[in-house]
Symmetry: C2
Subunit: 317 residues, 2 copies
């Protein structure tokens, strides 16, 4: 009998559990609402529920452990989850203990921050399979990240490593909601990118973007910019190029200090593909120290929204 | 009989060797010219010479190993030194093999990049004694660095970690001599800081700085700015404050991504003390992620120009 692992992706609205083979295939999944508004005990119950259902549905399979990818900061001992955004009444909650209690489970159970789990997924099964060290970046609503060092997750001295989105690329720039100045997130996180694009497009009323949003500036968002750029709209292409370059600047600084030559970028906006990866790679190759230049590269993530389940499963493997 | 270690500090003009006790005291030193212009074999001979002389002078002491702190990039196997700046006809040279051959030596011999060695010295004997993880910054002609992780030097995947001076703090900034844009070095490295200060002072002819340099702009340098600031000259104080803040911005980005809460700053310009450390610490405490804020700190290095010998010795310990 082959061995399998259950990976759980805890999201703000749904909990998704998948049964995963050791070569990184998701065989079956079960989904349920998170009930994030009902507090941490309710969420623990929902997690236990999908795990039980999946075990029942796959009872012919030997399951050797469970991993959970969770938003928020996970304590270094892997038990407590701190204040995941959009989860009510949470504070600092011993999620592992709670799930184990719910399950009456003797299987090993690991919890990891979701960005770190996604980084691990790329390391084990995705774009980072052949790389021992890389910076993982999630480029979507915000900019999150994880660091893979010697093929394992780097947690940092206090468990919160990977907050790459709060690297400043402009000491004179806008104040980010984190309190820092000129964070890369405050330039190209979804909301900020849309606002910057809108401002740029104010004086470019002939841009296709305006047609696509029916001249409603509030509808300008990365997806639209991408569509316009794919139809060769110059202003939209310029916006995507600049966004890729800016991310390249932040990635280069990290590479220089840490001597890394690989970054992997996923998340919604990275779906723009070459439009952003080409300028990003160009900037990185121009900006890293000479010895890194021939080997520096930014790769698109491969696992998309499977990264949560696969990374959670990877914690056990 | 107590055990001792020889630490060698290889500089561009002199080689300095010291005999060091295990509690980090330099008992005796020997110095000789580097002969950097005569090529790597000559330099190896000079290094062997100071080691021999020191052993002779301290022949009652048991020496258990030798460490060498060298400029340039040291290969991951610790043998080859690549292109140390200002050393002629060097290229990539097997310095360890050459010294060992010169000495006919059976003592273990370790070579490390000088910035990394200085970081190790601070970790073992200096401002980082109580810290397992910190970023070390040398703020002088350029901005160099080293990373101490779990109380050891972090070399990075390719041996060149610590190039913190080439972190960009301005995506739109000046092109650095490394090719990157807006590197922190290109703002506050000695030459750049002097140039920025000169520009700033052009419209502030009443500044004490002008008196101190006899109205000769070419004489403006950090030392003078420091002297003027200590005499309460506002423009000079503003320049030092801004320099400290800018370094704080770069340090904060690193802390956020790596989850570090400690940086140690040494090098000539850091001698300005509170004038730069106060604004630096203020910026860091405002710019790091919330969980790091209560514990984030930038400390002045403690070992000054002893750091080379002590760090080299520390390689053996």
């Amino acid at each position: 009998m082959n061995k399998y692992v259950i990976g759980v992706d805890l999201g703000g609205t749904t909990v998704k559990a998948g049964i995963v083979s050791f070569d990184g295939k998701i065989i079956n999944t079960v989904t349920t609402p998170t009930d994030a508004e009902k507090g941490p005990e309710a969420v623990s119950r929902q997690i236990a529920k999908v795990i039980r259902e999946l075990k029942k549905a796959e009872k012919d399979k030997e399951i050797i452990g469970i991993g959970v990818a969770s938003p928020g900061m996970v304590s270094l001992d892997g038990n407590t989850v701190e204040a995941p955004p959009n989860f009510k009444n949470w504070g600092s909650f011993p999620l592992r203990d709670a799930i184990v209690a719910e399950l009456g489970n003797r299987l090993p159970l690991f919890i990891e921050n979701d960005a770190n789990a996604a980084a691990l997924a790329e390391s084990k099964f995705g774009a980072g399979k052949d790389e021992d060290n890389f910076l993982f970046v999630i480029w979507g609503t915000g900019i999150g990240g994880g660091i893979i060092m010697d093929s394992t997750i780097y947690h940092g001295p206090h468990g919160g490593a990977g907050e790459f989105g709060h690297s400043s690329i402009d000491y004179n720039g806008p104040v980010c909601n984190c309190g820092n100045i000129g964070c890369i997130e405050s330039f190209i996180g979804q909301r900020y990118l849309s606002a910057r694009a809108t401002e740029y497009l104010e004086s470019r009323k002939d841009s296709l973007v305006w047609k696509l949003v029916d001249h409603d500036a509030s509808k300008i968002e990365p997806r639209i910019l991408y569509d316009a750029a794919m139809q060769d709209d110059e202003p939209a292409k310029n916006i995507m190029t600049e966004a890729g370059e800016l991310l390249g600047v932040a990635i280069s600084s990290f590479m220089n200090t840490m001597n890394f030559n690989v970054a992997i970028v996923g998340g919604g906006i990275s779906a723009a593909g070459d439009l952003v990866f080409q300028p990003m790679n160009k900037r990185v190759r121009e900006s890293v120290m000479a010895p890194l230049r021939p080997i520096a590269k930014v790769l698109p993530a491969k696992l998309g929204n499977q990264a949560g389940i696969l990374g959670a499963a990877g914690l056990v493997m």
